[in-house]
Amino acid sequence: MKLLEVKSLTKQFGGLRAVSAFDLSIEEGEIFGLIGPNGAGKSTLFNCVAGVYPPSGGDVLFSGKSISGQKPWNLCKRGLARTFQIVKPFASRSVLYNVMVGSFATTGKSAAAERKAREVLAFLHLDKKTEILAGNLTIADRKRLEIARALATEPRLLLLDEVMAGLRPTEVDEMVAIIRTIRKNGITVFVIEHIMRAIMALSDRIAVIHFGQKIAEGTPAEVASDKNVIKAYLGEEYAVS
Amino acid sequence: MITILEDTINGILMGSIYGLMALGLTVIFGVLKVINFAHGSLLMVGMYVAYWAVQLTGLHPYLALILVVPVMYLFGYYLQDIVIKPIYKAEKQVREPITVIIVTTGVWYILDNLSLLVFTPQYRSLPDNPLRGKMIEIGSMLISVPKLWGAVTAVLTAAAIYWFLQKTRMGRAIRATSLDREAASLMGIRQYSIYNITFGIGTAAAGVAGVTIVPFFNVFPTVGVLFDIKCFIIVVLGGLGSIGGAILGGIIIGIIESVGPQFMAATWTEAIVYGLFLIFLFVRPSGLFGVKYDW
């Protein structure tokens, strides 16, 4: 079943068309990757799906129903959670507090929220750091905290915005493993990523965006050998060689 | 009919003076991105400086500008340097740090009550200044001479500041800092000394306003409170950071205040002004001028 469908989505900022007539569909249980050079429109597309911007044209469907123009908090309640490229922890509060904010999305009871939060923290190997202030975490832990908060809202679809940026190679590998387990637990994952190695290893399918348009889509192997993709990333000379 | 015309003219004159009062507030906001809650107190200090300058030297009130402007400039310069700068350094990442509002409120309380201690609550007015109570008669209309001079000064001051910001090297550096602090510092502009200078200019403008008011208005320690909320309203009306907007906003308030009482109890006009202010805050927080800043 198609969990997320993006139909001919367009987003215009003043005179700039950041995303134009973009189509995309993600099956339930998939890990889907979106890549593209800096400034290609990845984040804009992502933010349109996540309800930050209303699209200028086209439609977004979540499990068959249109969600375009919905506010982020409503999307979260429907089962669509996201992380931020620039992590936004509630810095003055503990790790546990941060995750409880997420788990309160599905419960009104503090005890239940705490139980859920501790579960998620254990899953992400943050259970030894529950009392540390979020502002004092390392970047790798902050990225995990960001995922933990999103998971605590019990999503069906998880949007991950560059969760590997700034991580060291070993940390990237750990993150890949975590995302695989998340999928195994039945959550569909939509990743934007810059680190090619990771996204190639992780995704079932990948779409490539360049100047707001889709220039390729397919399995990692298909995308990596696509002429348009090589040109977009490395310049024409590489494509010839 | 004649009375309404007379009231309108007097409203425009007084309104221009209001605009002059608000000028410093808008200049400081334009660069530091902060609403200086102590602005009314700076006006009060300006009025006292003007008052004493005239009292002690016997100068014509307007000649006192020679003293008032530099004194107030230095006062503002060091106030920013000593009291407000530490907050900016602590909150570098924040574009419009709310803590600065709190600190300037502290400055307001200190200045008002210090002047209460030093000058006592006594109301003071310049005894026989050459402008006192003078009126021009045009037909059957009476126009206040000190307000006329005040309005002229307001327009000239606004024009001078505008010219300075547009045409001089320092003015361009101030505008650059207002638009992008970091990019400006990559051009060799020292952000904090620009802040000091801007605060100095804003305070000096409050001093000029003080000079224009003193000939027809009493000076007392809490006189700033009468004007500061009016100044906030004016700058929001005209567009925060806009120099032309400050004068225009002042004129609007001036007209409402002087023509309004023809139709209703004078105190109701005050309520109308607040209502207008709130409408602007909600509907058009960038003020009358569409662009965010006109410089």
């Binding site: 810059h194 190695r197 190639m200 | 550096a173 060799g188």
Partner: protein, 236 residues
């Protein structure tokens, strides 16, 4: 003695380390590229050299003098000029005023008129539109103004942070040609880029930056041939 020498610096963003024991050199008259993906620490490195951020450890020397504790304005006075990522023009000022602010520093001010002529000779389009407000320009034109503003400051060392960012391929070519001309006129250039191909072609030497560390360095030609560069940027 190298022109610019960065010695073993550690840089933190808040309490998060972004640069780890990084060293590099730039010789006078060279064009040097630093390439690396998003979040590798490229911008942080330039911001540290410019004095917008400070290093917790290590040292930065320019013409032999330590500058790691200097204010940005003092570093500008020494002749290190950065053209920041995303242009960062003074949006509501005219092109002419943007360029004038470029010559704010004392060492640039005296020659401002002469430099302005040079900038206009290099990028004639800017002269045609000198009274236009910066915010109304296209991305490519804005980048030209940003570079022009940098030249107005009379740089000894010009640092460019991703000048190709968000520009169409045809404009990217223009921008790199302009950088080429600037370098040919004798200005030392330190270029930070994701556009590996264009930037390395233009450069004498290059460094590859990953996760806050230099992982490779060498003559630009050699890096262009290197399989790791391909792997790092395409995941092939």
């Amino acid at each position: 003695m190298p022109f610019l020498e960065v010695k073993e610096i550690d840089v933190y963003y808040g309490d998060m380390q972004v640069i780890f024991g990084l060293s590099l050199n730039v010789e006078e008259g060279e064009v040097v590229s630093i390439i690396g993906g998003n979040g590798a620490g490229k911008s942080t490195l330039l911001r540290t050299i410019s004095g917008l951020m400070s290093s917790k450890r290590g040292e930065i020397l320019f013409e032999g003098a330590p500058i790691s504790r200097s204010e940005p304005a003092d570093i500008v006075e020494r002749g290190i000029i950065q053209v920041p990522e995303g242009r960062r023009l003074f949006t509501l000022m005219s092109i002419k005023d943007n360029l004038a602010v470029g010559a704010y520093s004392r060492r640039a001010e005296a020659d401002a008129e002469k430099t302005l002529k040079e900038v206009y000779a290099l990028m004639p389009r800017l002269q045609e539109r000198e009274n236009q407000v910066a915010i109304t320009l296209s991305g490519g034109e804005q980048q030209m103004v940003a570079i022009g503003r940098g030249i107005m400051a009379k740089p000894k060392l010009l640092m460019l942070d991703e000048p190709s960012l968000g520009l169409a391929p045809i404009l990217i070519k223009d921008i790199f040609e302009t950088v080429r001309k600037i370098a040919d006129q004798g200005t030392t250039v330190l270029l930070v880029e994701q556009d590996v191909m264009h930037s390395l072609r233009l450069s004498d030497r290059g460094y590859v930056l990953e996760h806050g560390r230099i992982v490779m360095e060498g003559p630009a030609k050699q890096l262009l041939e290197d399989p790791h560069v391909k792997t790092a940027y395409l995941g092939l």
